[in-house]
Amino acid sequence: MATNGTSVIQLKGVNKWYGQFHVLSDINLDVKEGEKIVICGPSGSGKSTLIRCINRLEEHQQGDIVVDGVTLSNDVKNIESIRREVGMVFQSFNLFPHLTILENLTLAPIWVKKMPKKEAEEIAMGLLKRVRIPEQANKYPGQLSGGQQQRVAIARALCMRPKIMLFDEPTSALDPEMVKEVLDVMIELAGEGMTMLCVTHEMGFARAVADRVIFMDRGEIVEQNEPEEFFAHPKNERTKTFLGQILHHG
C-alpha cells in the first residue's frame, strides 16, 4: 500500500435518512493519505450519498465526518475550506456549458484561490496536456465527446490542487468505447499518489489501483477488503450475489 498512515478522512457512526428511508446506517470509515478506495454496491445502496457527504453536497444527520483535520459542521467557512481540499468528478460531468474548457478549469483557482489569471491558465493548460486534450482549450463543453468532457471534469477538479479526489460513477454515463480513456487518466492519477474515493462498477479498475474495495448494501458497509481477497473470496452472501451479477458478463 502506498500509504504513510495518516488518516485524511474519518467517518464515525455516520447516519443519514431521506424521510423514513435509512440511506446511511452507522458508517465507520478511515481513509489514509494516498489510499485508493473503490466503493461498489447495488443501486440505491447509499454509495453515492456516502461520498457526497464527504464534501457536504449532502448533509449527514448523525455522527462525525473529519476531512483533513476539519470536522464538517454547518459553518459555511468550514464547508468551503473542505471543498477547497476535495475535488469531485460527477457521473454527468457537470461542466459549465457557457464557459470554454479553459474557463471551466481556471474559474475556481481564480475566484476561490485568488490566483492570478495567467498562472491559473498555465496550470490549466498543464492539466489539459495531462488528460491529453490541450487542443480543446478554447472550445465549449457541448462540442466535446462524453469521454473528453469527463477528462476535462477531472482536470477541472485537479486545478484546485486537491488532497482528495471523489469520483461518483465517473464512467457510467459514457459510451463503452470512451470508458477506457477516462479510466486511463484515473489510473495515472492513482499512480501519482492521490487519495481517491471512487464509486464505480469497473472491477478491472478496482483490481488495478484500489488498496481497498468496499461493498455497500442498504446503507451499510457490508464488507471491505484488499481487491485480491475481495474478488477471490468474498465472505458475505450479499457480496457474493452482487459480484455474481456484475462479473457474470465481464
Binding site: 471543498r83 457537470n94 459549465f96 457541448g142
Partner: protein
C-alpha cells in the same frame, strides 16, 4: 435491400424538389375546385383591401393643409400629423425649448444602441450610462442642484462596490484608494447627518428649468420604460433568488411581494403611488409625481421579471449547482458566475416579451396625469380645428410604437444567437 453487400450499397441522394413556384401554388392553392375558388376569392379580397388602404393612405391623402376643413372628403389627413407632430412628440414641454427633449431622445437612443453591442459589456457600459443619463436629464430638467449628501452617498456606494470587485484583481494601492473613496463618503454622510459640516450643493444651470409636470410625449415614454426596466431587472433578479432562498423569512417576503404586486393592476399601483403615498409622508415632504410613477413601474415590472427569471433558474440541472458547490465557490460567486449567466440565456425570449409589454404599459401613467407619447397624441385630437381624424393619429402612434417594439424583438433574436455561439453542438 438486405441482400446487397455493404460495399456495393450506393449513397442515395435525397429526392429532388421539382416543384418551383408554380408547382407549389398548384399543390397548395389549387388542389381542387373548393380550394381554387377559396384562393381566388381571398386574393380578390386582399387586393381590394390593400388598394383601398393605399388609396386612402397615399393616393388621396392630404399632406399639408391649413386646417382640418380642407381634409374632409379626401383620404388620410396626414396634414394633422404635420401640424401636431411637436405636440405628439414633446407634449406640453415649453414650445421654444423643444430641441432639448429632441436631443434627450437622441442621447437616450445612442445610449441604448451603444449598450446593446456585446463588445461594450464591460466597464464601458458604466460610462455610457453615467454620461447618457446625465446628458438626458440635464437636457430635460435644464438644471441640477447636486447636493452634498448625494455626492457622499455616491462616493460610498461606488467606492464600496469597486473595492469589493477589484479586491482580488487590483493592486493594493488601487483597492485602498477605492476604500478611501468609500470612507470619505461614509464620513461625509455621518458628519452631515449629525450636523457637524454644513450642506453644500453644486449647481449646474445649463438651461431654464423645466419641471417634470411639463414633460410629455416620447421622452417620457422612453425614460419611463428605460429606467423602469433598468432598475426593475436587478430588482427582479434579487426577488427571484430570494424566492428560492432556504431562509424562510427572505423567501416569505419575496413570495408575498411578488404575489401581491402581480395580483393588482398596474393602474391601481399607479394611483396608490400618486394619491395614497403622499398621505403617509410627513407634511411638507413631496416626492415628484414622475418619480412616483417610475417607482410604481419598477415595482410592478420587478415582480414579473422575477417570475420569468425563476423559470430560468429552475430550468438549470441540479448538477450545475453541485459542481459549483463542490469547487468551493461561495454563494455570490456561484450565482453570478455559473447560475445567472445560464438562467438569463434561457429566458431571453420571455424577458423581451415582458419588456415589450411594459414599454407599451407605461402609457397607463395617463391615469395620474402624466402625458406619455400615446396620451400626447391623444391630446392632438382635442383641437376643434382638427377634430375628426383619430385614425391618422392612432396609426401614426402605432407606427412609432411598432418601430421600438420590433427593434427590441430583433435585438432579442440577435442576442440569443450571439450568446449561444459555440455553446451549441
Amino acid at each position: 435491400m438486405a441482400d446487397i453487400p455493404a460495399g456495393e450499397r450506393r449513397q442515395l441522394a435525397p429526392p429532388v424538389d421539382e416543384t418551383g413556384a408554380l408547382g407549389w401554388a398548384r399543390r397548395n392553392l389549387f388542389s381542387g375546385w373548393g380550394n381554387g375558388i377559396t384562393t381566388v376569392v381571398l386574393i380578390v379580397a386582399v387586393v381590394w383591401l390593400v388598394s383601398s388602404f393605399l388609396n386612402w393612405a397615399v393616393i388621396n391623402a392630404v399632406w399639408t393643409a391649413p386646417s382640418g376643413q380642407e381634409c374632409r372628403g379626401h383620404g388620410a389627413c396626414w396634414a394633422l400629423i404635420h401640424e401636431k407632430y411637436r405636440l405628439i412628440f414633446f407634449g406640453t414641454y415649453p414650445y421654444e425649448q423643444q430641441w432639448r427633449p429632441l436631443l434627450a431622445i437622441l442621447a437616450m437612443l445612442t445610449m441604448l444602441v451603444l449598450s446593446s453591442d456585446r463588445r461594450m459589456w464591460n466597464t464601458r457600459l458604466i460610462w455610457i450610462w453615467t454620461i447618457g443619463s446625465f446628458v438626458t436629464f440635464l437636457l430635460m430638467f435644464g438644471e441640477f442642484n447636486i447636493s452634498s449628501g448625494l455626492i457622499y452617498f455616491v462616493a460610498l456606494v461606488v467606492g464600496a462596490i469597486v473595492q469589493s470587485v477589484r479586491s482580488t484583481t487590483g493592486t493594493p494601492a488601487e483597492v485602498w484608494g477605492w476604500r478611501a473613496v468609500a470612507g470619505v463618503g461614509l464620513l461625509g454622510l455621518v458628519l452631515r447627518i449629525v450636523g457637524i459640516i454644513p450642506a453644500w450643493t453644486i449647481p449646474i444651470h445649463a438651461f431654464t428649468y423645466v419641471e417634470t409636470g411639463l414633460w410629455g410625449g416620447l421622452p417620457v415614454t422612453i425614460i419611463l420604460a428605460t429606467y423602469g426596466l433598468v432598475f426593475a431587472f436587478p430588482y427582479g433578479v434579487l426577488l427571484a433568488l430570494g424566492r428560492r432562498s432556504k431562509l424562510p423569512l427572505i423567501k416569505g417576503l419575496c413570495v408575498g411581494f411578488i404575489e401581491l404586486i402581480r395580483g393588482v393592476p398596474l393602474i391601481s399601483l399607479l394611483i396608490m403611488a400618486s394619491v395614497m403615498l403622499p398621505l403617509f409622508l410627513p407634511s411638507g415632504m413631496t416626492i415628484d409625481k414622475f418619480l412616483r410613477a417610475l417607482v410604481a413601474v419598477i415595482l410592478f415590472a420587478g415582480a414579473y421579471i422575477a417570475e420569468i427569471i425563476r423559470g430560468g433558474l429552475q430550468s438549470l440541472p441540479k448538477g450545475q449547482f453541485e459542481a459549483a458547490d463542490a469547487m468551493g465557490l461561495n454563494y455570490p460567486q456561484k450565482t453570478l458566475l455559473i447560475i445567472l449567466p445560464q438562467a438569463l440565456r434561457v429566458v431571453i425570449p420571455p424577458l423581451i416579451n415582458t419588456f415589450i409589454g411594459f414599454f407599451k404599459d407605461t402609457t397607463l401613467v395617463l391615469i395620474i396625469g402624466i402625458f406619455d407619447f400615446l396620451n400626447a397624441a391623444n391630446q392632438a385630437l382635442v383641437d376643434p380645428a382638427w377634430a375628426g381624424f383619430p385614425a391618422e393619429i392612432y396609426l401614426f402612434a402605432a407606427f412609432v410604437y411598432f418601430c421600438f417594439c420590433f427593434s427590441m424583438s430583433r435585438y432579442a433574436k440577435y442576442l440569443e444567437i450571439e450568446l449561444n455561439k459555440g455553446t451549441r453542438r
